[in-house]
């Protein structure tokens, strides 16, 4: 069994040590920006939906946001299992970084869904099973991040959050199946009946958002590792027991 101190973390990973981003990370950033530009261009130029009209174009940010949130929480759960098996700190930081990005994309999925809901349903919010379960997912993973902040010991933090990361993933399944399990205003999956041009636009957006997820998660992970390195350096320079233990007076003993 290894501990945090036994597992090395490199806060400079993906960087050249001068504060500048290294070539692979810059390449990923470039691909992400190109993907987003392409996704926006395709989303704005594909034909409008026959029933919903132009408002349906919001699906090209709403669906990818929800997909990336599911992916992020899946990665959190798998990384949590990996930490419980190996106790390697890299799995803990991956789980935390992915959960952080997942919460962000759950927020954008909720926001874009509400903006779509107003012109389509006539309301920003309704107590629909899909909407409520997604809001609950958002709150559960906010709780996951709060649990991490509230636990100062790295091993306790990793253990508690790993257990929560695995249990919380069950809510992802509830959100996904909510439109089948309950009678909902939110539509069921339409991936098999969607027009090919609209499907292509959706896939381009999903791909672009997935690349952005990888970039954001790797940055968040690097930040967590750098902050931990900074914290450990601060601990090394300070006394363990502070003023509670006074320096032994060895000179007095030699005099006697």
């Amino acid at each position: 069994m290894t501990t945090d101190s036994e597992t090395s973390t490199d806060p400079q990973a993906g960087h050249d040590g001068s504060g500048r981003t290294s070539t692979p990370v810059r390449k990923l950033d470039g691909i992400a920006v190109a993907g987003i530009v392409l996704a926006i261009v395709v989303a704005m130029t594909v034909p409008a939906d026959k029933l919903q009209g132009d408002v349906q174009r919001l699906m090209y940010v709403h669906v990818p946001s929800a997909w990336v949130a599911f992916l992020a929480f899946g990665v959190t759960a798998l990384s949590s299992i990996a930490w419980l098996r190996t106790h390697k700190v890299t799995w803990d930081t991956t789980a935390a970084a992915s959960a952080f990005v997942g919460v962000f994309f759950t927020g954008t999925a909720l926001a874009s869904g509400m903006i779509w809901g107003k012109p389509t349903w006539g309301v920003f919010w309704t107590w629909d099973a899909r909407l409520v379960s997604t809001a609950l997912l958002f709150v559960i993973y906010l709780g996951y991040l709060a649990l991490r902040r509230a636990t100062p010991d790295p091993i306790d933090r990793a253990r508690r959050s790993a257990i929560m990361g695995i249990i919380a993933a069950l809510q992802v399944a509830v959100v996904y199946k909510s439109v089948d399990w309950w009678v909902t205003l939110h539509q069921q999956s339409s991936r098999n009946s969607i027009d090919p041009a609209l499907r292509l636009s959706l896939w381009v957006s999903v791909l672009a958002f997935t690349i952005v997820y990888i970039g954001l998660t790797s940055r968040r992970r690097a930040l967590l590792e750098a902050e931990e390195s900074l914290r450990l350096r601060g601990l090394r320079g300070s006394a363990v027991a502070g003023d509670a233990i006074s320096k032994p007076n060895l000179e007095a003993r030699s005099d006697g």
Partner: protein, 54 residues
């Protein structure tokens, strides 16, 4: 007006579907680029602190 949100929307004359599309895209992509910039700035600051302490 019973619905204050509707009153604001009507006052702003937001009845064009493109207004909703632009609002949604601005919020989602704006938040995405905002988060990227925040992470980038914070990471650079922490790295500078680490470099200063060496």
């Amino acid at each position: 007006m019973a619905d204050p949100v509707l009153a604001v929307l009507q006052a702003a004359q937001i009845d064009n579907p493109w207004s909703w599309v632009i609002a949604g895209y601005t919020i989602v992509y704006g938040a995405m680029f905002g988060l990227t910039a925040w992470l980038w700035m914070r990471l650079n600051r922490v790295r500078r602190q680490l470099d200063d302490e060496i």
